[in-house]
Every structure is written in structure tokens, then in C-alpha cells.
């Protein structure tokens, strides 16, 4: 790992002003993506501004129809929260399926969505449930936040502080994990929301997480696993790698959508 300078931030403003003063610094969440990347020398931030200890970012609250999860909440915290389990069970089960227990003990929701790995689970959760990403500067709808592979609408130095999830009438998440990494080969979150049915797919798209219009239409007309059969997914939009071809992933999208409905 290249040299770096570590700083533990005490508040959001402390973190953002500290980062602004660095040459090429980065926020550090739970480090479950950034540290392995630095170990492989694929990233060399001059400074790390650790936001995982900021108390104000560690809260989960439910007000009316909105569940707000602080950016520094770990996957284990979300998975184990009785409030989340009651309000949006699909979100608790999504968090519980990320990686392994030690990864869940450290990894955070803020880090996961800022990273926007094309095979990560939370991007599907945010997009499928129609969440709003709160930053130190503004609020960004999930539909605009996830721009492409490892790419988000965040500006340079902008920090995620929380994610607001509207409660869904019904929602389910199903993932087909890569047997070695546990990341999604295909993960689908399907939800009946106040604004209609939403279906978000992760792991499969060659441009990162995406909404699936044909599945939304089919499930909007008939909320059942059967309705997903015969809905096709364009192979041209799919990732292809040693773990699965585009054709395989395109097929799996429909299968996992059906299971997501079954899980709802």
C-alpha cells in the first residue's frame, strides 16, 4: 500500500473541510472496498478522512413513511435493526446478504453507494425502492444518483450523509451470489411503491444498476412470479465475464425477478 495520511473526522463539516484541504484525499467508510483496493495499489489517496466514527451518521430512524439510514450505518446494523425489519423487511434482508459477517461489521451504506460497484446490493435497494440520497450539500433521487459503473452523481468532495427510503407497499430482494465473492451475479429488487412498481437490477448490467421497464410493466399488471416469465432482457445490455455470459445473465434477471416477488 502506498503512503497515506489518516484522519478521523468528528463531524460532517470537519470531514468535508478536512478533505477539501488535501491534495488527493478520499473519504474512508468501513474500508471494505477502499482498503483492498489500496492494498492492490489500484488507489493511492494522499489522505484518508475516516467518516465511520461520526456519531451523527450512525442513526436509523423511522418517521411516518420514511426510513432514514445514516451513511456510517454498517450492513450489520441495518440487517439487525428491528425498525428496518418492520418497515422494509426487504432492505434488512438485502443488508444481511452482503458479503460475510466480518464485512458486514465494518462496511457502510454510504461507502457502498458512493462506490457504486456494478455488482453491489445497495444500489439495487436504493433504486428499486426509490430512495433519496442525502449529501452534505443536497438531496439526490436514486434515479439520478447511480450514473454508471463505479460512477455516481456525487461531486468532488461531496459526502453522503444518509439515505431516505420510502416504505413500500410490498418489496422483495433476491440475489444469485457469485459463489466465491458473494457479490451479485444478478440481484433484483422489486417493489410496489406509491409511484407504481419499480424493478432494479444489479450485477447484470454493463453500465451498472438499472431499472427494468418491461419487468415493471409486467409486474404492474400482475404482481406474481409468473408474470416475469416471458419478459425478455436485452443481452446487449448485460455484463459478460468468466462467471457468466450475457445470455446467462439475461435469463437470470427474469428468474431472480420472480424470486424477488416470491420474497415480497
Amino acid at each position: 500500500m502506498y503512503d497515506t495520511t489518516y484522519y478521523r473526522a468528528s463531524s460532517v463539516s470537519d470531514a468535508t473541510s478536512k478533505l477539501a484541504g488535501t491534495e488527493d484525499g478520499k473519504f474512508l467508510g468501513g474500508g471494505q472496498t477502499l482498503i483492498p483496493t489500496m492494498k492492490q495499489r489500484l488507489a493511492a489517496p494522499s489522505d484518508l478522512v475516516d467518516v465511520s466514527g461520526i456519531d451523527a451518521l450512525k442513526n436509523i430512524s423511522v418517521e411516518g413513511d420514511t426510513v432514514t439510514i445514516g451513511a456510517a450505518c454498517t450492513h450489520a446494523q441495518v440487517a439487525g435493526s428491528s425498525e428496518v425489519a418492520e418497515a422494509i423487511p426487504a432492505l434488512a434482508s438485502l443488508a444481511n446478504g452482503i458479503g460475510d459477517p466480518a464485512v458486514r461489521a465494518r462496511g457502510t451504506i454510504g461507502g457502498s453507494i458512493a462506490n457504486n460497484d456494478p455488482a453491489a446490493d445497495y444500489p439495487a435497494g436504493c433504486l428499486g425502492l426509490g430512495a433519496t440520497i442525502v449529501t452534505d450539500a443536497r438531496e439526490i433521487p436514486a434515479d439520478e444518483f447511480f450514473v454508471g459503473m463505479f460512477e455516481t452523481a456525487l461531486d468532488e468532495g461531496e459526502m453522503v450523509t444518509a439515505v431516505k427510503f420510502p416504505k413500500a407497499t410490498k418489496a422483495g430482494y433476491a440475489k444469485f451470489p457469485n459463489p466465491a465473492s458473494r457479490y451479485a451475479m444478478v440481484g433484483v429488487l422489486a417493489a410496489q411503491t406509491a409511484n407504481g412498481v419499480r424493478v432494479a437490477v444489479t450485477g447484470a448490467g454493463n453500465d451498472g444498476v438499472f431499472r427494468h421497464a418491461a419487468l415493471e410493466e409486467a409486474l404492474g399488471a400482475n404482481w406474481s412470479a409468473d408474470a416475469t416469465q416471458g419478459v425478455s432482457t436485452d443481452e446487449g445490455d448485460m455484463l459478460a465475464d468468466i462467471h457468466g455470459s450475457a445470455e446467462y445473465r439475461a435469463h437470470l434477471v427474469g428468474v431472480m425477478a420472480g424470486r424477488a416477488v416470491d420474497n415480497s
Binding site: M1, P36, A76, V103
Partner: protein
Amino acid sequence: MTKVSMTVNGKARSVEVPDNTLLVDYIRENLRLTGTHVGCDTSQCGACVVHVDGQAVKSCTMLAAAAEGAEVTTIEGVAASKDDLHPMQVAFKENHGLQCGFCTPGMIMAATDMVSRYKAAGKTLDEPAIREELEGNICRCTGYHNIVKAIADGASKMA
């Protein structure tokens, strides 16, 4: 360089290390506690699992500086003494839960963590749950069968 202080196995420790020092290197190289192992460079094998403030974490995927002020327990800290092993260590021995032993420190740290988490949540740690919980711990020797048996046995003996 930063002076990083933490409590490891009940002892206050303080060492001046470069900021990019991983917790596992702090433990192995600076404190010379070599029971914690490194089995991969992709954060997947779990040989490096230790407890930080009561939670199992991969010490290869955390900076020592991020553990400033923390209570850390390594495999060297789980037994009361050489002749008085932790019930989970005894269970691994009695159930042949190890062969080469390289993964074992991480397995034991993950095992005691899962037992306490399940206990706290009032959930039953049955065989499927143990297998699921071992997702982040890889063993190249045993085929896991006896590890799962050992954890079930150790869990029943942990007060």
C-alpha cells in the same frame, strides 16, 4: 507516522506506526502476536479475523489507526491460560476441527463472535446457520464438516 494506542488482549499497547499500517501488521509485526494469520490479499479468507470492540473483523482490511482506542482480542487472548483453553478451542481439538491449523485462529474468532451474536439476538445457531456464518472463512484442508461440528459443540459449552 502516528502513535496508535489500543488495548490488545487486556494490555494497553502503544506503537508509533506509519498511517498505512494494517491492523494485522500492527498485531503481527509490532506486537509480535503471530497467531493472527494472513491467508489472502483479497479480504476473503478470514484467517486474520480478530475482535475489535466485541465484533469480528478482518484485521487485514482495517487500518491500525482506525482501531485507535479500541479493545482488540486476538487468538492469543481467548484462553485463560495454556492449560485452560477456551471451550471453543477445546471443541476444535476434540472434533478434529483442524488439520494444518492455518485457518483455525480466524475460525475460532469468527465462531465465538457468531455464538455471542446469536445468543444476544435470541436466535438458534443450528448447522445451516453455522455454515452460512462461515461465509468469510476459508479452509483448504478440512472440508468444513468438522469445523461445523466443532462450532456447534463449542457453542453448547460456552456459558
